[in-house]
Amino acid sequence: MRSVLFASILGLVGAALLHIIIVLVLPQFTGRDAYTRVLGLLEMDSFFSLTSTPGPTGLSNDDPYLRTAVCSFSITDGPARFLARGAVPFWSLAVFDSASNEVFSMNDHTAVNGRLDLVVATPIQLVELRKTPPEALAQSIMVEMKEEDGYAVLRAMAPLDSFEDQVRNFLAESSCEPFRR
């Protein structure tokens, strides 16, 4: 009887350990986290507008009034630059790394002249950009990112149906490209 009790207690200790291991390790293995889903759209270096019904990787416009576009990027070979302009009532951008941690987020009120012009670079690339600032980046916001891969989410608001075209154009004309001097 005592050995059964001992085995059960040992089992519970093991269960607690396994619980902790599963919770800690799970983020690396789910295969359906946001970064994997964005990568699965196979649209590197351009914004991909989501639809209101779940797309091939299960991403969709969750909020009925927000239109979302996503872009996966890598800054291994050089900084990434995000551009968008247009008259929409509200837009916002968030940059996440490959573990889906927020790196940077902003909206149209925190942007220069209400335009999106953002450069994401590694610390070393950023030092070079600051040493000899290119003319084109005079108005850009510079953001440092330690990881090399990530994704960006651009949201624009269409509070009424009549904004639909404006918002679609805004997202279609936005760009997410590697920056070259």
Binding site: I21, I22, T68, S92
Partner: protein
């Protein structure tokens, strides 16, 4: 003769069964620690950050949603009404009051998994701060109901439980912990069935 192998099997069964079951349960039951709740509304302002706890990180990796960044907005979810009863799609609710300061907000109903309900293109499925009709003191009352209602109506066409999702966009409250003092709209049940 088989005692030792049996005991080993028992310990292993408890370890693997209990460990896996409890982990799955924990990730389904909650988005993680660090929530803020105002009445029935719950939000996780740090779920998308590096500082999120391991449960929040595991949950967001499993759910695979595009979360809101700090400068974008904050999403509140309510699964119960002000009296703590689960929201049922057979009942009517009044969402009334004021939201915390924000440039925009949107309100829609979602199913238990957080997928927005789509009652059909001819019915109002959601409402936002531009389209809502307000009283003189700028407060509002939104009727969330399976039956047609005057003024602000969010239609329900669903069975079972649902949740309400209120997203504040560009809100100073997303970055501060002073949110506890702020008021969120009340959710009051006004009746069930066709009444």
């Amino acid at each position: 003769m088989f005692r030792i192998p049996l005991l080993v099997a028992l310990a292993l069964a408890i370890a693997f069964g209990g460990g896996i079951a409890s982990a799955v349960w924990a990730l389904k039951a909650t988005v993680g620690f660090g929530s803020i709740s105002i009445g029935p509304w719950v939000a996780f302002p740090e779920a998308q950050t590096e500082n999120a706890d391991p449960y929040a990180k595991a949950h967001r990796a499993r759910a695979g949603e595009l979360l809101y960044g700090g400068a974008e907005g904050l999403m509140f979810m309510a699964q119960v009404d002000d009296r703590g009863e689960k929201l049922s799609a057979a009942c009517s609710y009044d969402v009334s009051g004021l939201t915390p300061q924000a440039r925009f907000w949107t309100l829609y109903a979602a199913n238990a998994d957080g997928v927005p309900l789509r009652p059909g293109s001819d019915l109002p499925s959601a409402i936002n701060s531009w389209t809502v009709l307000r009283a003189e003191d700028s407060s509002f009352t939104i009727h969330v109901s399976p039956n047609a209602k005057p003024d602000n109506w969010v239609a329900l066409r669903h069975s079972g439980t649902f949740r309400l999702v209120l997203t504040l966009l560009d809100t100073p409250t997303a970055g501060s912990s002073g949110l506890i003092d702020l008021a969120m709209p009340k959710i009051v049940k006004t009746g069930c069935g066709d009444a």
